[in-house]
Assembly symmetry: C2
Homo-oligomer: 131 residues x 2
């Protein structure tokens, strides 16, 4: 069962902080890239485009790490050990628009032909580090 996302952890994710996503490459190496992030209930939701390395990693191996750091005080952060429970194209375009509204305050700069993919992640353990 996933852990509930509450208190400062929920606030850090709901704010416009970036998420640093750790995935596993084909050769078993960790990989870390920054992404936008938001929540659907107690699931953490991120979005990418088909053809990139890290979404391919998550399709191959659902084990994922999410680190969200407070951009106003980088000594406060949360590290989440999670598992991808859904990878879908359905609603992925609407989702990237919601993320663009949150982070950019304007429509997402669409790239022609790009196929968006949305990942829903269940938090298995949540490690909050206070400032």
């Amino acid at each position: 069962m996933g852990e509930a996302i509450e208190g400062r952890v929920r606030e850090l994710i709901e704010d416009t902080n970036f998420c640093h996503v750790g995935t596993l490459t084909k050769d078993g190496w960790p990989m870390v890239v920054p992404t936008w992030v938001d929540l659907e209930g107690d699931l953490v939701v991120i979005n990418s485009a088909e053809g990139r390395v890290w979404p391919a990693n998550l399709r191959r191996d659902p084990r994922v790490a999410l680190e969200i750091i407070n951009s106003k005080d980088p000594y406060e952060y949360v590290w989440i050990k999670g598992r991808v429970v859904e990878a879908t194209h359905k609603d992925a375009d609407e989702h990237i628009e919601r993320l663009a509204a949150k982070y950019l305050g304007e429509p997402f700069p669409k790239v022609a032909g790009e196929v968006r993919i949305k990942f829903k992640i269940e938090p298995l353990s949540i490690h909050y580090s206070p400032p």
Copy 2:
């Protein structure tokens, strides 16, 4: 052979940007935490304290990912696939003081009894993402 660290990648690391370190836990899961970072030639150098999870991960498995993001423009970042080539207590106290001078502009807030450890990381591949 490691890759040379040049241009914007070197500037991003030399600036006071945080590094998001990806390691592998005992159960093979990725883990991501923020750290301070600097360079020794073409090696990326990070510092932690014995007893924490991520340095123990790096002692067990030298495969590491480093993501350094521009705090002034989070759409510019670099992702480095690296390998730990040295984990040492020697010079680790002096190194954390150099990092504190860089990031805090003041002495490191020492914790009594804490044993610092310094990791030297060879970059195997460098992926720069322009803003």
